[in-house]
Amino acid sequence: MDNIILKIENLEKNFGKLKAVKNVNLEVKKGDVFGFLGPNGAGKSTTIRMVLGLVNPDKGRIIIDGLEIQKDYKEALKKVGTMVETPSFYEYLTGYENLKLTAKLYQGIKHVDIIKILKKVGLKDRKDNKVKTYSVGMKQRLGLARALINKPQLVILDEPTSGLDPQGKKEIRELIKGLAETEDVTFFICTHQLNEVEQICNRVAILQEGKIIANRHINKKENEKWIEIYTKQKNEAKMILKQDEKIKNMKISKNGLLIYTKETQIEKINSLLNQRGIKVKYIIPEMESLEEYYLKETGGKFDVI
């Protein structure tokens, strides 16, 4: 339980006859970069707004680091930084002034902290320009700076790369990845872009028509996956590979042997089997990508950018 930073239980929200969120349950662990994926209109933003206390749920509980937001709103939200959709700013104020307004609502955030965060998002040189002169990408970066200003444990981002050109998207993703690694921040990222989740998240939940239809880890190249070894000498191969501690699971398949291990082990396994006289025809890793998986799950309702 201590490792869970965000827990959503039986969350429901109706807008009139529209059931926007239907019995959503999920858990985000500390250190996760959690992707909350779904097509437009799936209920992602409504869920996020309920987590932030902006929309009142009809049913369910939201717990942030052990604090239920319906009961301990102030304390729970102190641990959270957020950027909801296209970030809004006081356009007639400068980037620095916008951050200062937010900083005043927390204790102990000084001028140097604001400058440091502006430097981190690459806006230090533009801090004294009015936000109305900023590009969309700069506004997204300023939104990210605002989300991080209170040194949150959990950062909730709603479509953080929305409206950005490919270069801008890349910059924001790099920034999130870097922050997750260096600042020990948990990210909860709401998006409809599959490749975004694939690139920066380690876990994903998929929402469709208000319901969570899948919740799983994301296979990255360095992660373990099922690999099929095409050979007629199935049992001999199994006996040899049984000794290998890096193989977590193994079963006989129609074409030979299925093993569960890291993709980086393929070359080693191949040479081991060859050395022991096993004729290997092919070694094929499981090819299903996140994109294929989710297109299958949702019936092709995602943007693949």
Binding site: L54, Y73, L77, V84, Y90, E97, L101, T102, K104, L105
Partner: protein, 256 residues
């Protein structure tokens, strides 16, 4: 937290041009009677003692109610529509704290503008006009200092009904979708209030705008009774619309 929120509201307000424009309009309007005074054909003789009371009339019955609409549009409606209203709420601020900060800002800015009107009236009067006949109240001739204190009291009392009006408009500010419609509806409500005042003697005491220009408190006997009615009517309006705003804001789903 409340203090920080109020400071933020003031910071935003004074970084915009609107408050300066209204201050300039008030200063210019306060000067108009001084100009009229120089026209012999007009047959009007304003003095330092009478000018602030003359200016209390138009400022509270025309300029400040419009400014209230513009201020509410900025504090509530435009912020909600532009998505900046939620910024404080996601920064560990409760809805009640934010509402309280907005109301305190509204009332304090109304107070500042009312006092500014009095200040520029005295200033322009002192530079260009004579002190004239001393102030009289209940058949007692007041010293100049006492006259200033009474005038200050009247200006200060006008803040009470004007603030209640501000809270009424604030409630509408949550309901409407643009700053323009807040200003338009405020002018409409103010116009209707004034028509009711003119047409129905029976309804007049119930109409809030009847109390904006507190100069009437000096005009005849029974000042304390009139003052009590002013406070009661203002409180009823203020508390009723404050309650409605609280109930509305607590239930509101903030989707922008």
């Amino acid at each position: 937290m409340l203090f920080s929120l109020i400071k933020n509201e003031y910071y935003k307000l004074f970084r915009k041009k609107k408050i300066y424009i209204f201050a300039m309009i008030i200063a210019a309007m306060a000067f108009i009677p001084v100009i009229i005074n120089t026209i012999e054909e007009a047959g009007i003789n304003f003095t330092v003692n009478t000018l602030p009371l003359e200016n209390l009339s138009w400022s509270t019955e025309m300029i400040i109610p419009i400014f209230i609409a513009v201020l509410v549009a900025d504090l509530i409606t435009n912020e909600y529509q532009e998505g900046t209203f939620k910024l404080s709420l996601v920064s560990s601020v409760t809805r009640m704290e934010l509402l309280a900060a907005k109301i305190i800002t509204l009332v304090s800015v109304i107070t500042l503008l009312v006092l500014f009107t009095m200040m520029v009236s005295y200033l322009s009067g002192a530079i260009f006009l004579d002190w004239g006949i001393p102030f009289q109240f209940n058949n007692v001739t007041l010293t100049e200092t006492q006259g200033i204190l009474y005038t200050f009291g009247l200006y200060f009392l006008s803040v009470i009904p004007l603030s209640a009006f501000g809270i009424l408009i604030m409630f509408l500010g949550f309901k409407l979708e643009s700053g323009g419609s807040v200003v338009g509806l405020t002018i409409g409500i103010f116009f209707i209030m004034n028509i009711i005042r003119q047409l129905s003697k029976l309804m007049r005491p119930l109409v809030l705008s009847n109390y904006f220009n507190t100069g009437y408190l000096l005009s005849s006997d029974g000042m304390s009774d009139k003052l009590i009615i002013l406070i009661i009517v203002s409180l009823v309006y203020g508390l009723a619309f404050f309650g409605l705003s609280v109930s509305d804001l607590i239930k509101k789903d903030i989707v922008k």
